[in-house]
Amino acid sequence: MTTTQRGTMKRTWSRAARMAGVAVAVLWALVPATIGAQVRMTVPPQSEPVALQGATIHTVTSGVIENGTIVLEDGVITAIGTDVDIPAGARVVDATGKHIYPGLIDAFSTVGIAEIGAVDVSNDVNELGDFNPNVRADIAVNAESRHIGTTRSAGVLTTLTTPGGGLVSGMSSALALEGWSWEEMSMQSAAALNVNWPNPNPGRFRGFGGFRFGPQEDRPSYEEQIEQLKDFFGEARAYRDAVAAGAEVRSDSRYAAMIPVFDGEIPVVVAADGAAQINDAITWAQEEGFRIVIRGGQDAIHVADRLVAEDIPVILTSTMAAPGRQYEGYDGAYSMPARLHEAGVRFAISGGSGALYSNRLPFEAGVAVAFGLPEEEALKAVTINPAQFLGLDDRIGSLEPGKQATFLITTGTPLDMTSDIEQAYIQGRELDMTDIQKFFFEKYMEKVRQQMRRVIS
């Protein structure tokens, strides 16, 4: 790429930052003028203060502010309320009649590391072997993945992109879905260690709690696998203790990767769906003294008392799904969040129902509203709750001064398709809301128009 072209690109960013969603004439002047659309452009970091005025602001943690103003500087929310000072030089955006929500968080995603389901080489989800605590999702994230734009258009601005497979799958990475490279996107490289709890009854569960791909045949028994898991963690703990004691040990990157887990810095997310699995996983975590989050949780309601008593949160992976058992109500999955809420279990909802990308996350939460969950709880389940469970709530999950300016401007709740998501900000960057799907829309609507003109003439 020549210097001249690079200069051109640079000018493009600033335009895009000011005029998001509008065709970027400078760049697209290079291609035939008949194509009026563009593929998503990455925008530069926030360079001037911005104040959005007149919106209904859904803070999640501090209620709803009508006709409110939100101020952002250097990617961070500096003020929020009905009576706030707008800093000098701020760009003021009229958001009258609009709603502002925190960006949604998908606590269980493969965005960036999985591209096309049936094309194995396009997927980097499952590493070989049963114990891979050292693998981290973020470094494999393709920043140009088509799914990033589509996911953002649905209001999901942060994903916990998560490896799968084996017993210990690796580290989820928290990704802000904007940036030129994975390095720029990664908010936390090792956000949680993922464990796939063995399945005592293979074939019983659909496997949404873990990933369904990966070889399952010739597995050792349930008990044997738990034994293996315990043994591995025992070795890892010994390694960490030896390192802490200053003993000379041969280096082992797998055990080294787990030191933050033993130090309580990051949680262990355990994929478990069956009642027996969840119970056994909790018992194990308590013996180990880990902070544990259950992921999957199809049978969580049968373990609700214990989950409440031990204050163990759950990431549900299949709310928009059929019930797991024939006798269960047709709405067994839809109503699970409402039932857990009534039982007092803390939970998040993830977009894990078999999608390769996270754009259905809002609806996974919305369906719970149709089946009894209060709307504000559904919103928490895709914002502040996953942020808390995964140690990100100091930065995202709600609209509060000091948190990152990662939010949505909408015509209504992002959990319902009857409202539109018009604009999104990530860390103060006003995103280019184009995505590959909109690109195809623009391009092929143009084809329809051309052909209609031809027919008429």
Binding site: I116, P362, F363, A370, Q451
Partner: protein, 997 residues
């Protein structure tokens, strides 16, 4: 602590009968003749001469294999060998109407000769011609009381002919009673026979139809050849088609082996369509079809294969037990009893049991669970005898009939009885040797030996399940005293009058088992032990008390009486009946999305009469007695339509050939489909169940309505258009070793078949004009392709990419017809204008994509672009679960800028138009079917749920009824799980126990 009967099963011919008469035997006798007298008198038994007919203390006289007389009294004629059967019971020998003698093993290298192109078609196979020395199987059948059987071949789809044979040890030429009386057909192919087609349930039925038609043609073709004076070359030679001649003309019965409710219904349909004379081998699920079977008179032969109880042994397991499985466990043993009560005649077979030894125990379970013993006997004797055409000679104990008898200790149907002997054609086969000693009672035994001890030995229980204990009173020098130990096993050996027992030597201070043996003579006991320390002290003893208990166990129902009302399907959420259809239904004051010219009406009414929409509008007059529904605040839409699902059929893909339009999904609809309930709960009322995508030209699809609780035929949409599945792109080319491997080849194989169909048509025309040469044969595949070319079988093509769709649309146009719909159509938007111009409808997803390479260019805006271009557009699910929430799929399109009415049209009128069923469904307009949904709010909102779903003016779903069903399911599951847990040992599937031992 069980012990085995003193009478070990044995197989021995105790007396030979006279062989077939000298004058009618072909084989010369070598050496000395061995005839015996063939003259027997069975004296003193209780004789059940036939169902409901008992003679106490009767005598049966047998002469030369036949029953010479039977009557009360104990006088034996002079010269007859007398068999004292005092205390025993004699029944007519059983007849197994569907026995498997495992005689048709597949030959290595396959069948030879001009048989049939398809290795699964073995109609030429004759059980008579292949009768072999199958001593083990015959003897096993005899041990369960059988003297006669219809031997049925089991390999392939068309399996060959079944024969009635005697189960005695005569030579093969003397065993056959009626050779090759029926053709046998099964629905499960034999993998050993090979061949790739058919490999699905619908392919199987298609092959059956084609083969039956071919058999009919085969006769005519040969006749035409002969009639011409052999003026041209003859038709092909096929032993299989030749063997089917009598069957296709109804003059030879066809025995269908059916493995499920659905297979029974399919077999019945096939037999009716082709005018066959059907017999049915049932499947143990007859209790689910009692209403259908009532009044039917075709021979029905049921197995006694009862399921094990579902595992409910720990909470996690109990959580997984479905009502369907629990009910099946409880109800399957009641099936024979229910059939009898419904007046259905049936026979019972051993076929289907994993071991023949389960037969009598299961028979007793069936009796304990409601089958009258006389009905059971009829099902094993008179009924099969009449169907097999041997009732003049078999089935009862009657003067002049063949001497086939079962001699038992005890009542075979209600007690733990033992088959003593079975007589077949006047020959007796010992099954169990009679108990010759009865060691039960209390024995005082003592020893003078250094290592001996004094004890009381107690033996009790039934003779064949002996149990007992030792009370050790005083002990040897170093042993503790006064202990009791249960015998770990005990049995009595008839031949030697000896008992053998073992017990844990710990009671005597040893580590290990101690053995105890003793010879019993009257009340005297001479015994010895073998102790773990190597000592073998001897004992003497006397019986101080006899045994006073029942002679043998009776079989009684041990499961609690649970009232399980009939439901259909027999599973969770099954209905006790189809919902009522009120004469009129009026829904008041709703937001009505008509999806017709009237648009969305606020505060409007909807009136349904006799299942059909009569009016939509404001303040409608409803007839008196109309069911009034206040829908204030609710939304009402047409019932939703999904043009592409795969649930609700027994199979999806027939991939044996690349081109299979002759197979029909309509042949394999199943009502045992929980998805249907979930789908109707989500507002779906009509669906198009499609063949899979393994073939460039797949099978014919079927339209169903979600009439949950109906049988398959009643689920089908009335007067539907016919549609056929095509598939383009990755799926049809990925089958290894089968043409095509590219999109280019896919196009060409379709074109080639289009041309072949035109050739076929021309051949027929020529023959009809001239009548010369061989008559052409009807070819279902070619007929289907002709229907496609003539636009009578509408193409509904799977595919993803724009190129492949465009190619198919153009190919159809080249042949002068139109493609009805493209399905999936991930790239349909790229050819929207072309589709509009060619009048091809598009059936697409909302936002599904990227799961495979050809789905990578998916866009949510697909439907929007198509609609803008004027293409008739619908959504589809291709997924059982998504089909239950199609309103939300449509709702997603709101974000592309479609209006709400446009968005909803993609799951209502747009779908109906795409599938050419818009004259019946898809909108709320007068004259259309009364299919509608009442929603809690805006049907396109993620926050809305369906509250009621109506089909044909019948309410198939409501939240209230759903809640009531859940309560009922919870209650039944609890009762059934408790029933299993209450059975000792956690319920091993046997839901009766033997009392009195």
């Amino acid at each position: 602590m069980r012990a085995t009967l003193s009478t070990i099963a044995f197989a021995a011919v105790l007396a030979t009968s006279a062989q077939a008469q000298q004058a009618s035997r072909t084989q010369p006798v070598e050496g000395m003749r061995d005839n015996g007298t063939g003259y027997h008198a069975l004296v003193g038994a209780r004789v059940v001469t036939g169902p409901g007919q008992v003679l106490d203390e009767a005598t049966i006289v047998i002469r030369d294999g036949l029953i010479q007389s039977v009557g009360r009294g104990t006088d034996a004629p002079a010269g007859a060998r007398v068999w004292d059967l005092d205390g025993l019971t004699v029944y007519p020998g059983f007849i197994d109407a569907h026995a498997d003698l495992e005689m048709d093993a597949v030959p290595e290298g396959g069948d030879i000769g001009p048989t049939h192109w398809n290795p699964q078609v073995r109609a030429w196979f004759s059980t008579t011609r292949n009768l072999a020395d199958d001593e083990d199987r015959r003897s096993a059948l005899r041990s369960q009381g059988f003297g006669t059987a219809l031997v049925v071949p089991k390999e392939g789809l068309f399996r060959g002919t079944a024969s009635v044979i005697g189960l005695g040890d005569e030579g093969v030429r003397d065993r056959v009673l009626r050779p090759d009386v029926a053709q046998a057909i099964g629905f499960q192919r034999s993998f050993e026979l090979g061949g790739s087609y058919p490999n699905s349930a619908m392919g199987t039925i298609a092959l059956m139809k084609q083969t039956l038609m071919d058999a009919d043609w085969y006769m005519r073709a040969w006749e035409a050849y002969e009639a011409s004076g052999r003026a041209f070359l003859p038709p092909e030679t096929s032993e299989a088609l030749a063997a089917l001649e009598d069957a296709v003309h109804g003059s030879q019965p066809v025995v269908f082996e059916t493995g499920s409710e659905e297979e029974y219904l399919r077999a019945h349909g096939l037999a009716t369509e082709f005018g066959l004379t059907p017999w049915f081998r049932g499947n143990g699920l007859e209790y689910r079809l009692i209403d259908v079977l009532r009044g039917r008179t075709d021979p029905l032969i049921v197995p006694l294969d009862f399921p094990d109880a579902p595992d409910v042994g720990y909470p996690g397991a109990a959580l997984d037990a479905s009502l369907a499985d629990l009910r099946h466990w409880y109800l399957a043993p009641t099936s024979p009893g229910q059939l009898a009560e419904a007046g259905v005649r049936f026979a019972i077979t051993t076929d289907g049991l994993s071991s023949l030894n389960e037969f009598l125990p299961n028979l007793r379970i069936a009796v304990a669970r409601g089958l009258a013993a006389d009905d059971a006997l009829a099902a094993l004797t008179t009924t099969p005898a009449s169907w097999l055409g041997i009732d003049r000679t078999h089935g009862t104990i009657t003067e002049g009939k063949v001497a086939n008898l079962v001699v038992s200790e005890g009542d075979l149907f209600t007690e733990e009885a033992t088959v003593r002997d079975v007589w077949v054609q006047g020959r007796v086969y010992g099954i169990t040797r009679p108990a010759q000693i009865d060691p039960r009672g209390s024995w005082e035994i003592a020893s003078d030996d250094e290592w001996g001890f004094d004890a009381v030995l107690v033996l009790e229980g039934s003779l064949n399940r002996l149990r007992g204990y030792l009370d050790i009173a005083s002990t040897g020098p170093e042993l503790p005293g006064g202990a009791r130990v249960d015998l770990a096993s005990a049995r009595a050996v008839a031949e030697t009058g000896r008992i053998d027992a073992r017990f844990n030597g710990e009671v005597l201070g040893y580590q290990g088992m101690a053995l105890l043996s003793g010879s019993v003579r009257g009340d005297e006991f001479y015994g010895w032990t073998s102790l773990p320390n190597g000592a073998d002290p001897s004992f003497r003893g006397t019986r101080t008390e006899g045994f006073e208990g029942p002679e043998r166990g009776t079989v009684a129902m041990d499961v609690p009486d649970i009232d399980l009302p009939f439901i259909r399907p027999m599973m969770d959420y099954g209905r006790s009946s189809i919902p009522e259809q009120p004469a009129a239904v009026v829904v008041r004051n709703a937001t009505v999305w008509t999806q017709g010219p009237e648009g969305i009406l606020e505060g409007a009414d909807l009136l349904i009469r006799a299942g059909t929409i009569e009016a939509v509008g404001m303040d409608l007059d409803a007839p008196g007695g109309a069911v009034e529904i206040d829908a204030t605040g609710k939304h009402v839409t047409p019932g939703l339509i999904d043009p592409h699902i795969h649930s609700g059929v027994s199979a999806v893909n027939e991939s044996g050939f690349a081109i299979v339009p002759e197979v029909r999904m309509g042949d394999v609809v199943t009502h045992n489909n929980i998805w249907m309930y979930r789908q109707v709960a989500g507002g779906l009322t009509t669906a198009h169940i499609k063949h899979g995508s393994a073939n460039p030209i797949g099978g014919e699809n079927v339209f169903v309505k979600m009439r949950w609780g109906s049988l398959p035929e009643d689920l089908k949409l009335e007067n539907p258009p016919r549609t056929v599945k095509f598939a383009l792109g990755e799926n049809p080319k990925r089958r290894q070793g089968r043409y095509p491997d590219t999109r280019m080849g896919t196009q060409e194989i379709i074109r080639d078949h289009f041309m072949a169909a035109r050739d076929y048509e021309r051949e027929w025309q020529q023959w009809e004009e001239t009548g010369e040469g061989l008559p052409p044969r009807r070819d279902l595949r070619m007929e289907a392709i002709l229907d496609i070319l003539n636009q009578e079988l509408l193409i509904s093509s799977h595919g993803y990419r724009a190129d492949e769709f465009l190619a198919l649309v153009r190919l159809a146009e080249e042949f002068g017809f139109r493609v009805q719909t493209l399905q999936h159509g991930v790239e349909a938007y790229k050819i929207a204008s072309e589709l509009a111009e060619s009048n091809v409808a598009a059936v697409v997803w909302s936002d599904w994509g990227s799961f495979k390479l050809e789905a990578y260019d998916a866009t949510l805006y697909n439907a929007r672009i198509l609609i803008e271009a004027g293409v008739v557009t619908s959504l589809h699910s291709d997924n059982s679960e998504i089909a239950s929430r199609m309103n939300w799929e449509a709702g997603k399109l709101l974000r592309t800028g479609l209006t709400p009415e446009q968005a909803l049209s993609t799951v209502t009128i747009g779908s109906a138009r795409a599938m050419a069923i818009d004259d019946q469904v898809g909108s709320l307009e007068p004259g259309k079917d009364g299919d509608f949904v009442i929603w809690s709010g805006d049907p396109l909102s993620q926050f809305t749920r369906a509250e009621e779903t109506w089909i044909d003016g019948r309410r198939y779903f409501s939240l209230g009824e759903d809640a009531a069903m859940r309560d009922q399911i919870a209650q039944e599951r609890t009762q059934l799980i408790q029933a299993i847990l209450s059975i000792e040992g956690g319920g091993g599937g046997r839901n009766v126990e033997m009392e009195g031992n």
